[in-house]
Point group: C2
Chain length 203, copies 2
Amino acid sequence: MTSAPRSRTLPSGEPRPRYDQDSLLAVAAEVFTERGYDGTSMEHLSRASGLSKSSIYHHVEGKEQLLRLALERALDPLLASLNEPDVTTGRAVDRLHHLIRRDVEILADRLPYVTLLLRVHGNTETERWALDQRRGFDRRVAKLVQQAIDEGDVRSDVDARTTARLIFGVVNSLIEWYRPGRDTSPAELADQIASMVLDGIRT
Amino acid sequence: MTSAPRSRTLPSGEPRPRYDQDSLLAVAAEVFTERGYDGTSMEHLSRASGLSKSSIYHHVEGKEQLLRLALERALDPLLASLNEPDVTTGRAVDRLHHLIRRDVEILADRLPYVTLLLRVHGNTETERWALDQRRGFDRRVAKLVQQAIDEGDVRSDVDARTTARLIFGVVNSLIEWYRPGRDTSPAELADQIASMVLDGIRT
DNA sequence: GTCTATATGTTGATAGAC
DNA sequence: GTCTATCAACATATAGAC
């Protein structure tokens, strides 16, 4: 698991992330991702982290808080991507292009966290919250696609909502097989995908 | 999938739901699909089916057998689609077109079963078996894409394996939102998707 | 901050009456 | 074929010593 420098003073604004909580979170995301949230017991997390079960409770309130923190690791950059300059200015089809590239990069960068996000079932309050955040994201992408259709750059024989869903169907499917390091670089992959997707949807 | 009571008329008194293995399976697939396999307890299945837990054990050996039967409902037609005449004769790009159309139809027809298949984590023997079947399917699709590249009909700047994965990334993402009846007809959807995908990957 | 030991509830599965 | 009652195993979480 990744280790982070511990004693550096961080810029104010966010509560100082605790080293132990962070590395525990990385382990938890990996195990949740592999076994599913429900299929993961505190015993599994204990073995994977090398901590006893009760020591884990020293760092986090419980299993569900680990889930929430891990999901935020995926949701924060994804939601932020919608507000980046490249995605908020210019022709809609170009903004869409940037968004696709950006989100492939985020997915590659935060793979276990995004994988977790995409596999969540609405069994707990935290899971339902995550699903709700995803829906909000999807809605905003659909709006962008609609704009691109209105501007005449994207085919209009398929409706915007469907097109938006298919686009992120492709992007999100990366979690099933993409492994940074082993496969193409994130930037190159992002180019290939954006190119294929746009060839498929353009007028 | 609706939890179908037996078609037979029941003896006098209350219309107690009677189940055979098939209708129980439909309920199980629905609940597994909604809550995840690990997140589903026999108690959940009991409530959803109207049977007591122990009555469920009269029909099936246990929870994992329900999973296996449900997964076969998805895997059988998917694997069979690879051997259909339209998919085994002619130019590779056309066979690919047929395969995409066919699998969108299968997905629409067996939605809860395919959804379950695509969400499985390798925690149990049955789950690992399903993952293995999926890998075999993917390999055969990748071969077909490679043929289409060799025949000059599909772009060669992205490798066959990646292209195959992206194609079924789109198709499989349907489980996230497609609902037969509410949305476009399966045939129409299959056309739209095949069209977009092929526009994206053709030379 | 870590551990062992344990409280308390839920799980998949079984026994046996009707 | 259905049910109620029950089990052993395992779940999340806590107590308290070091």
